[in-house]
């Protein structure tokens, strides 16, 4: 008994191992881009060249690493280091890097890879290394048809991005937009689709009809947009794979501002009759139409929350155009914007935590974000004319279009696609063959 008591006494006296430690709280850090080295991928001897669109791609390993580098540079979260400073050859680096060499050039992460191209296959493997800890973080190999080599580079970018940032990437995605050519007074508008980095542009319509507001389905094969049918603007559906298009619903008036529900089974849009527009949904399988709002004001630009339970939209029922949120059945409506100016084109983030919008104040256009309850409004960018934000699938980047000022003859006018991330500092133009407007970002092509 005595021994037991002594034991208890000394247990409390000595068995407190943490007490010897000094604790220091680190509550701040920096948001500088992470220095990363992307070594050119080593091409296995005996590999064939890739022929694509009449061009022969000679050094596929270098091309893949270049795409990854551009993706990372554009993300603003990474700082790809200059390849001239690399000491180690790609083949040796892929087998086992000399971390001291990479530490010297201040790299914190290193991407190496190996490519083997045969007649009908390209096999690409890559490794991501933690230079400071001197260990491998992830290693994967992909096998596909040689024409898909750009996608492989994007998928590798996504994997590295996810491993280093903790959130999903957005590089293996596509963007649909309205390609514009001609004078300001006589624009030809075609539907166009491209990779998120601006490559592989394809035109989906001929340009003889006006097209507006294309939106991707979360399933990717379908696109909904606005075009003219019997001189009336109507919502269309287009299957990208087959090229088949159809008018949505049998409405007597004009329908516009379409968007898919998160499960891809419904389309939500505005339907206008006698100068009043309200929000409707249509089930794509049963074709059943449901009216969601019923008000004499103009209700438009609806967008679902990612869980499908809520809808945000803009309405002028208060006299000025403001953003409202309601349940998906139209109940429990709440106004969420009370700031100065007009608010429009709300889009719910795929993460669900934010709503992006366009704001017009003092004849200037802003793209901003706020929480779904209207708090925490943050304006990310300001310009002469810009609108229609669309979220990247991971909810970190917004794509929108911006028009420049022109004179009375329309000279100096241009419309370009731009992207900006949530920090508001990483704003970049996306190079397109023609002018572009109304972009919409697809979800990840491979999950």
């Amino acid at each position: 008994m005595k021994k037991l008591l002594l034991f208890i006494f000394y247990f409390f006296l000595f068995a407190n191992p943490t007490s010897a430690f000094i604790e220091v709280d680190i509550t701040r850090g920096n948001l500088d881009p992470l220095p990363i080295a992307i070594s050119p991928f080593y091409v296995e001897p005996g590999s064939k060249d890739i022929k694509q669109g009449g061009k022969i791609i000679q050094n596929i390993g270098e091309e893949i690493s270049k795409i990854i580098e551009v993706n990372f540079k554009r993300s603003g979260l990474f700082n790809p280091l200059n390849k001239d400073a690399f000491v180690q050859n790609p083949d040796i680096a892929h087998a086992k890097p000399r971390f001291e060499d990479w530490k010297l050039i201040k790299a914190q992460a290193l991407v190496t890879g190996k490519v083997t191209v045969s007649e009908d296959k390209i096999r690409t493997e890559f490794r991501l290394w933690d230079v400071l800890a001197a260990k491998e973080m992830i290693a994967l190999a992909f096998s596909t048809t040689p024409n898909n080599w750009r996608r492989v580079a994007h998928i590798i970018s996504d994997k590295v991005y996810q491993r280093l940032t903790g959130e999903e990437g957005y590089f293996d995605t596509r963007i649909i937009y309205v390609s514009e050519t001609g004078k300001k007074t006589q624009r030809y508008k075609k539907l166009a689709i491209m990779d998120q980095d601006g490559a592989n542009v394809k035109y989906l319509t001929l340009g003889n009809e006006l097209v507006l507001t294309p939106r991707f389905s979360p399933k990717n094969q379908l696109v909904t947009y606005l075009s003219y049918f019997r001189n009336l603007p109507r919502v269309y559906l287009l299957d990208i794979e087959t090229g088949v298009q159809e008018v949505v619903g049998d409405f007597s008036g004009m329908t516009f501002a379409p968007r898919f529900s998160p499960d891809g089974k419904k389309i939500i849009m505005s339907f206008a009759q006698d100068g009043n527009s309200d929000i409707y949904t249509m089930d794509l399988t049963t074709r059943a139409v449901e009216r969601i709002t019923d008000h004499s004001a103009i209700d438009t630009s609806p967008s679902y929350s990612p869980d499908g339970k809520y809808i945000c939209f803009n309405s002028d029922r208060s006299g000025l155009q403001q953003i409202y949120v309601m349940r998906s059945d139209g109940s429990n409506m709440k106004r969420i914007t009370f700031g100065k100016g007009l608010y429009g084109t709300p889009v719910w983030s795929p993460r669900g935590d934010l709503i992006a919008f366009t704001k017009v104040y003092n004849n200037r256009f802003y793209i901003g974000v706020m929480r779904p309850d209207g708090s925490g409004e943050r304006l990310l960018t300001e310009n002469f004319y810009q609108e229609a934000p669309s979220w990247s699938p991971n909810g970190r980047v917004l794509i929108f279009y911006r028009e420049t000022k022109s004179d009375s003859q329309g000279k100096g006018f241009s419309a370009k696609l731009w992207s900006i991330d949530l920090t508001g500092y990483n704003e970049r133009m996306i190079e397109t063959e023609t002018d572009g407007s109304d972009p919409s970002w697809s979800s990840l092509l491979s999950k």
């Binding site: 021994k3 002594l6 034991f7 000394y10 247990f11 006296l13 000595f14 068995a15 191992p17 943490t18 010897a20 430690f21 000094i22 604790e23 220091v24 709280d25 680190i26 509550t27 701040r28 850090g29 920096n30 948001l31 500088d32 992470l34 979260l77 914190q108 933690d130 400071l132 800890a133 973080m137 491993r163 280093l164 940032t165 903790g166 959130e167 991971n394 970190r396 920090t423």
Partner: protein, 269 residues
């Protein structure tokens, strides 16, 4: 019979009386205690970074010199350790070692150490029930030692000898250094708990001898992938930063350090 009725009556009355007395007490509103305000104790270092005025400097230097002189008078002559000459172990020594080993193996009554995964840091400090007697002796010895030491201490020594952590300015220097090295991963879900605790064992020059992430198990839990990214970023920060800006003296004070990296504040703000 009558006795039991009597007893029952007595106890029942007692109950009624007690209830009658305590009920009004229950009706009373409880006393409003003022809310407890937690007080954070901050240690401020004796010397600030602000330069002294020239006059004050001179007087201070004078005092310092005098103090140094006094200390040098009192200081005992330094003991020089006698180095043992290299010698070849005798066969007797081997036998001794063998005996020790055998003893360890053949003691079935010995209580096995707690079977649990512990950090490298904790291993040495775990309480070993087999050594109670030794610990008692040691504690006696230690208390005697501290008593002796305290008796010898001068007033100025007392001030610094009880400082167990880093002083405010020392902590600030370390924090500022790590703030600059820590690149926050931006994709973290800010609604989650974003605290990573890292234990470090430092060398006297501030370089890292070993590092360990506490809550290591959380890294492999489903849905906690972000925690791994966060923990790795914190480890990277420590590695880039080394050697850490630690005070030049008092190695024993800061050789074991725990850094709590918290991304919540930064991402929420």
């Amino acid at each position: 019979m009558t006795r039991s009725i009597f007893l029952s009556l007595v106890f029942h009355t007692a109950m009624i009386v007690l209830t009658a007395l305590s009920l009004p007490l229950m009706m009373k509103t409880p006393i409003d205690l003022p809310p407890i305000i937690s007080v954070e104790l901050i240690e401020i270092s004796d010397i600030t970074n602000i330069p002294f005025a020239p006059k004050a400097r001179k007087t201070l230097e004078k005092i310092k010199k005098e103090e140094e002189r006094v200390v040098s008078e009192q200081a005992p002559p330094a003991k020089i350790k006698k180095e043992k000459p290299d010698r070849i172990p005798l066969p007797e020594d081997f036998n001794k070692e063998k005996k020790k080993l055998v003893k360890k193996k053949q003691n079935p009554e010995e209580i096995k150490e707690q079977v649990r995964q512990v950090s490298e840091f904790e291993k040495k400090e775990l309480f070993n029930p087999n050594q109670i007697a030794a610990l008692i002796d040691k504690s006696k010895k230690e208390s005697a030692d501290t008593l002796k030491k305290n008796q010898k201490l001068t007033q100025s020594n007392v001030k610094t000898s009880f400082v167990s952590g880093l002083t405010l300015s020392e902590e600030d220097a370390l924090k500022a250094q790590i703030f600059g090295c820590w690149s926050l991963p931006l994709g973290l879900p800010y609604q989650e708990n974003l605290l990573v605790r890292i234990k470090l064992r430092l060398q006297p020059d501030g370089t890292i001898l070993k590092s360990e992430i506490l809550d290591h198990a959380r890294m492999n839990k489903p849905g906690q992938g972000f925690y791994r990214v966060l923990a790795e970023s914190a480890l990277r920060a420590v590695r880039i930063c080394q050697p850490l800006r630690v005070p030049p003296a008092g190695y024993d004070r800061w050789k074991d350090l725990q850094l709590n990296f918290n991304a919540n504040e930064m991402l929420k703000g």
